[in-house]
Amino acid sequence: MTGGYGAGPDILHDCTVAVNRGEIAVIVGPNGAGKSTAMKAIFGMLDLRQGSVRLDGQDITDLSPQDRVVNGMGFVPQTSNIFTSLTVEENLEMGAFIRRDDFSGTMAQIYDLFPILKEKRNQPAGELSGGQRQQVAVGRALMTEPKVLMLDEPTAGVSPIVMDELFDRIIEVARTGIPILMVEQNARQALEIADKGYVLVQGRNAYTGTGKELLEDPEVRRSFLGG
């Protein structure tokens, strides 16, 4: 993929990421490397100048974001990822917007996962604390029951205990066969659970390998994982 914002310069340069069924792929890299941009590109939120995006082998490069949702992609962006004026419950309902079936079961699961959300289900999401919002955002994406789940820094600002739960849950989701692509700055933990890791530097693939390989690579450790 090669692309950038509007008429601006290219931010991604021939960058490739892939994730298979049941796998967790983690993208790490310095700030401004283009990780979020790559996610947005995969989701069709900016025009690619080169390259393609494929889902289940099918070329979806020209689909609009909402068609991608219909095709089973779920995405939690890094910033402004909740509906602040809607209640927590309505946020979750909106996650299930494209679902026509009964989603109360999924909702119950999510409340199990993030009990605090159940407590605050009728409160506008804008009144939640930073970490609570993050939980709403992830919950919203899970409501879609997506075929692919994309998370941009899902654990930024959540407390260790919730982070652990979140990772646990992500693993569980992956086990059900859903591929997960996530960007993480809590890289060490993320790579520990990752099947695949990508290190992105200035919009290019710098290192690629399994989570373990990257964790053990001294160069990667020093430059991106904080020693």
């Binding site: 910033t79 260790p160 652990d164 739960e165």
Partner: protein, 261 residues
Amino acid sequence: MIVVEDLHKHFGGFHAVDGASLEISGGSITGLIGPNGAGKTTLFNVIAGVLEPTSGRVTMDGEDITGLPPHDLFHKGLLRTFQIAHEFSSMTCRENLMMVPGGQSGETLWNTWFGRKRIADEERALAAKADEVLEFLTIEHLADHKAGQVSGGQKKLLELGRTMMVDARIVFLDEVGAGVNRTLLNTIGDAIVRLNKERGYTFVVIEHDMDFIGRLCDPVICMAEGKVLAEGTLDEIKANEQVIEAYLGTGLKNKAAAGAG
């Protein structure tokens, strides 16, 4: 240096801060941890004058600063960063930094018409200083970028950079680390320590990354449900049952399985 006495902040019926009392001693780097929604950010907001407290008192070096507007507190040397980055989006990164110092003569209208020479000199010095800070934060190449169009982490860096533009006495950092690359975070940690040692800044740091807290902070305060739950060195805190239950947890359940898969 800062003493918070029985502070309450209620939103409707909800008690976000519920009788917190704590003391931050001058020259320390105090860590503030606690589960999501414990009231840490709200506590910051009350101390920094963004929110009126429902009741309680905040003093700084004995002087009552409860309810003073943020800009007054700034001039008393109290600075803060925001958990959700508050950049000036239509200004360049350099301008974001240059606007910080108070008392610039060019901020008086009269001088903009009749004191242009002095302004020009001041501006040069400011720009140099801003570039220094940007370089330190490894984002010097973004000096002329609009701050609204840099990445999430870069915004956080800018947020921190602003506190480095002036001589602060106490700086409140609200999760500067969230979303910042760990390598860079270490550099930031070094900088905090250096500012603390060399310039005598006092820091209060909210952070969920225990490694980071561990490297910098002593003492550490843990909040929960609007109250102070525990206080002490990080090791003491880490050993505290209540803290483990409410906040730290016991690690991944699925870790082993994942590693295998």
